[in-house]
Structure formats: structure tokens, C-alpha cells
């Protein structure tokens, strides 16, 4: 069965997100309901929220040397805030789930198929 990655996007860094605010609490509840519906439908493969991009490290391996630098790879203000891997019979089914994810997260969701599934 094809697998798709549904990623959650934020327009701005969310380092200062207040988890106790009613807005965030509402979204957390919505996402938790969405997760439950993914599991119930047998669609869930994996999913996780991500700490802000400021926590990222980029590692490179060139000629046997491993180097690392601070920061996310892409220097954009948009950030991926989390993702799901789902299993769906086809694109339309995946897009349908993405629509529900977008409603739960109150933000845009990018849908990408995995290679060779």
C-alpha cells in the first residue's frame, strides 16, 4: 500500500509557542483526535511533533570527515513542525486525510509520496 508523508508547516519560528495558551491547547486536542482517527482507520504508520528548527544540527560527511554546524538546513522562516507517515490506497485518500490534518493543526499540510511504496 502506498505511503505518504503529511508534514505540518509553520509560517514563522515557533520557539516561543505557549503550550498553555487556549489556542495551543485546542490544537493539541484536535491533533490528538486526528491521531486517534488515523489509528482507528488503520492508516497510521508513524507521527511526531518536532521541537523548533533552532534545535537542529546539520551533519555532513565528506571524504571520511564528519562535520557539523548549528541550525536547520534550510534557511527559511517557514518550518516543519511535525509529520505523519500514513498508508493510503491512493492520492485521493491521502489528500482526504491531509484535509483533516490541516483542520486539526489549523495550518497547511504538505503531502508527499514515499519512494517505491
Amino acid at each position: 500500500m502506498p505511503q505518504y508523508v503529511l508534514s505540518v508547516w509553520h509560517d514563522q519560528p515557533y520557539d516561543d509557542l505557549d503550550f498553555n495558551s487556549p489556542e495551543t491547547q485546542r490544537m493539541v486536542a484536535q491533533v490528538s483526535d486526528f491521531n486517534a482517527s488515523l489509528e482507528k482507520a488503520g492508516v497510521w504508520v508513524f507521527g511526531a511533533g518536532l521541537r523548533p528548527a533552532s534545535t537542529a544540527t546539520v551533519v555532513r560527511a565528506a571524504g571520511g570527515n564528519v562535520s557539523m554546524i548549528d541550525g536547520p538546513y534550510a534557511e527559511t522562516k517557514e518550518q516543519m513542525g511535525g509529520f505523519w507517515v500514513i498508508e493510503a490506497p491512493d492520492l485521493d485518500a491521502a489528500l482526504d486525510w491531509a484535509g483533516r490534518a490541516a483542520a486539526a493543526c489549523e495550518g497547511p499540510i504538505e503531502v508527499r509520496p514515499t519512494e517505491g511504496a
Binding site: Y4, D92, A94, P113
Partner: protein, 419 residues
């Protein structure tokens, strides 16, 4: 067109490709196979004559060729799987495909063309890719033809088509007619794409007018296929009605020197009576269903214009009422602009200008028809100075030589502005 092969190609290429995609499960494979089958037909038909069912012959031949190719390429695992799957069907893949009685072998499902339309117009594709893919797969146009028609470099268009096909394949886009719940939105995307193809052919924005007429004719053909396959969708009927009623005016739209003639100034005896009769019948048929939609209302507006023997006889109050309905269904600035123009005909240029004032100028800032309409209304309201400025802006924004000449002539005809 006198060449029977070209005729069959026009009529059958989309249908054959649509069926082959279902049978083979792969767009590229289907396209190559159909092209190969037409190449064989080009060799055989002039000698042996046209088979009794040319479309069936092409489909069956294409399928056999595809199976041969899958066998040849079967070192690749995925192809091998596909070849294996195909072998299970009720035919001998090695059979020589020149026999007429092969016609019955491929199960041609009428829905195949619908499936393909929904696939080409999948909302995950950008509008320009939807148009290109529709023309390529359903219209049987080749890449240079489409690139010429849309005035874009061939490599750009080729890449657009390759990317769109890859996106559909990599994403496992389903090959089916959408379910009832999704149908209204998905159908709207299909109808919009067909209309985009039509208007591109109608505006004649290049010197190569012939190619443009072909685009309009192809859009009308696709519209006919849609109404045959979805007779219960009034918007599909509405779109076809809108296209044929607009097409009816084509002979009157340009003067002998190629310059543009406005609707009000057209010689209505040149309008195509057959298209108008067909359009009227279609408008009546869809409106009877009482599920009004944007295409049906635009068709009804075109029908009101078609009813008027001269421009003076136009029933503008009915047109304004139809635009009101359209604005209520689909409030966009372009519709509002056309409503303002109709309002000016009914209540005078001042009323039209007032309606224009209330439009969102930001959205229309680079929209040539907005300035052309404004210029015309200002001229009629006795404000030649302001009209000239609006014409200048419209001329600056026009990408079309014929249109630009028209606007320049209108500007020149203004009473000389007082300094």
C-alpha cells in the same frame, strides 16, 4: 480534413489512450502504444482500406504492441509484473494485430474518457499542467502544437507535461471517476480546464489564428464528450452551451483586415445559426433542471445576446438580472466588471462607472478589460481626457496585437481632449 487517418486520430486518440491507461496502468506506456498503433495504421490502411471499427482496431493494436514491449523490457521487475498481469486476459498477446475481428478484444468502457479527464484535471496539478495534459492525452495534440498554441517554449511545455505525469504516477493518483461527494468540486475543475482551452482559442492572442481556432474546436469537442458521458450534470451542459453560443459569433468577430469587432458592432447575420440553435436548446435543457451554476448562467447571458437581431434589441434588464445571479453564486471581480458593463447599457454610462468604482481596484490593477471598459464608459459619459488615460493603460496591458489595434483606434476616435 480529408485524410481519413487524421480524422480517426482526432476522434479516437483520446478515447484509445484513455482505455489503454486503464488496461496498462501507465500513462507513458499507453501513449507510446497508441502512437505506435497509429503508425502501423498509416502503413496499412492506405493499402488495405479502413477497418470497420477504426477506433477498436487502434485500441487493440496498441494493446498488443504494449504487451510485446512489456515482454521485451521484462528484465525490469515492475514491467515484468505488468506483463504477467496482462497475460491473464482473454487474448493471445502474440497474435498479429492486423485482423479486423480483433475489435471485440479490448473492453472499451465509456467511462475511460471521463476517468482520463478527471485524472488530467486533478486538483493536485497546477492549472497550466491540467490544460497541457488534457490537450495532450485527450486531444491527441503533440507537444509542439500545444506549445505553439500557448506561445510557450516547447521545452517548457514538455517539462510541464513530464512533471505532471510523474506527479500523478509517483502519488498513485487513482484512475476513476470521483465519488459523488467529491464530484462537484472535481467536475468544476474539469469544466474550468475545458473552458480555459476554449477561451485561449477564442482570444486569438497570436498571429497563428488557425491553431487558435483548433483549440476552441477541441474544447467544444471535449465539452460534447463530457455532456454525452455526464448528461445529468447541468453545468457540463451549460459549459457546452456557453462555448457554442460564443463560437457562433466567431465569423463576425473580426473584419477582413483581421481587426476586432465589438459585440455591439457585429454583423449578426454572420453569426452561425446552427451553433445558436444548438446553444439555445442546451440552455433550455440545463436550466430546466433548476440547479443553476456559473456556466449555465453565462450560457443564458450568451443566449440573450443571441436572441437580439440587432444590438439595440438586446434585453439588458434580463442580462443584468442574470449577472446579479452570477455575482450571488460566484462573486469575483471579473464577473462584477461584466455586470457593471451590462448595467451601463441598461441605465447609462454613469451607472456603469459607479458600479466600477465599487470594484476592488487592487485585484483588477493589471486586468486589461477593466481599463478598456472604463475607457469606453468614460468616453460615453463625456470625459474624453479620463477616457484617453484609461485607454493608454489598457493598450499598455494588452498582450494581443489585434486587441491593441482595436484599443488604439478607439482612443484615436475620442473627441480631442481639451488641454
Amino acid at each position: 480534413m480529408t485524410d481519413p487517418l487524421a480524422d480517426v486520430f482526432r476522434r479516437e486518440a483520446g478515447r484509445c489512450t484513455a482505455t489503454l491507461i486503464r488496461v496498462l496502468g501507465d500513462i507513458d506506456l499507453a501513449e507510446d502504444a497508441v502512437a505506435e498503433a497509429f503508425a502501423i495504421a498509416a502503413e496499412q490502411w492506405p493499402v488495405k482500406g479502413l477497418p470497420p471499427n477504426p477506433g477498436g482496431w487502434i485500441t487493440t493494436t496498441a494493446r498488443n504492441r504494449a504487451i510485446d514491449r512489456l515482454r521485451r523490457d521484462s528484465t525490469r521487475t515492475d514491467r515484468h509484473v505488468a506483463a504477467h498481469r496482462l497475460r491473464g486476459e482473454d487474448m493471445d498477446p502474440d497474435q498479429n494485430p492486423e485482423l479486423d475481428d480483433l475489435d471485440g478484444f479490448v473492453d472499451v468502457v465509456p467511462d475511460d474518457q471521463l476517468r482520463l479527464m478527471f485524472l488530467c484535471c486533478h486538483p493536485a496539478l497546477a492549472a497550466d499542467a491540467q490544460v497541457a495534459l488534457t490537450l495532450r492525452l485527450l486531444g491527441g495534440l503533440d507537444t509542439p502544437e500545444i506549445a505553439r498554441a500557448f506561445l510557450i517554449p516547447e521545452p517548457t511545455l514538455a517539462q510541464r507535461i513530464v512533471r505532471a505525469k510523474r506527479k500523478l504516477r509517483d502519488n498513485h493518483a487513482p484512475y476513476r471517476v470521483p465519488r459523488a461527494a467529491e464530484l462537484p468540486d472535481r467536475l468544476h475543475a474539469v469544466l474550468t480546464t475545458v473552458y480555459l482551452i476554449y477561451t485561449e482559442g477564442h482570444t486569438a492572442s497570436s498571429g497563428d489564428t488557425l491553431t487558435r481556432v483548433d483549440l476552441s474546436r477541441e474544447a467544444i469537442r471535449l465539452g460534447r464528450v463530457l455532456t454525452e458521458l455526464m448528461p445529468d450534470e447541468p453545468e457540463a451542459v451549460g459549459l457546452l452551451a456557453l462555448m457554442v453560443l460564443t463560437e457562433a459569433r466567431r465569423p463576425a468577430r473580426t473584419a477582413i483586415d483581421g481587426s476586432m469587432i465589438r459585440l455591439a458592432d457585429q454583423d449578426r447575420t454572420l453569426w452561425d445559426g446552427a451553433f445558436i440553435t444548438e446553444g439555445h436548446a442546451l440552455v433550455r435543457a440545463c436550466l430546466r433542471r433548476n440547479q443553476p451554476g456559473p456556466f449555465q448562467i453565462q450560457a443564458a447571458i450568451a443566449a440573450v445576446h443571441a436572441d437580439a437581431g440587432t444590438a439595440n434589441q438586446t434585453d439588458w434588464s434580463q442580462i443584468v438580472a442574470l449577472y446579479d445571479l452570477l455575482v450571488a453564486l460566484n462573486a469575483n471581480p471579473v464577473v462584477a466588471l461584466n455586470r457593471a458593463i451590462a448595467l451601463a447599457e441598461l441605465h447609462g454610462p454613469a451607472a456603469g462607472l459607479e458600479a466600477l468604482q465599487s470594484l476592488d481596484a487592487g485585484v483588477l490593477a493589471d486586468y486589461q478589460p477593466y481599463y478598456a471598459a472604463r475607457a469606453d464608459l468614460l468616453a460615453r459619459a463625456g470625459q474624453p481626457h479620463e477616457a484617453a488615460a484609461a485607454y493608454d493603460r489598457a493598450i499598455h496591458l494588452s498582450a494581443n496585437a489585434t486587441e491593441r489595434r482595436f484599443l488604439e483606434a478607439r482612443r484615436a476616435a475620442l473627441a480631442a481632449p481639451q488641454p
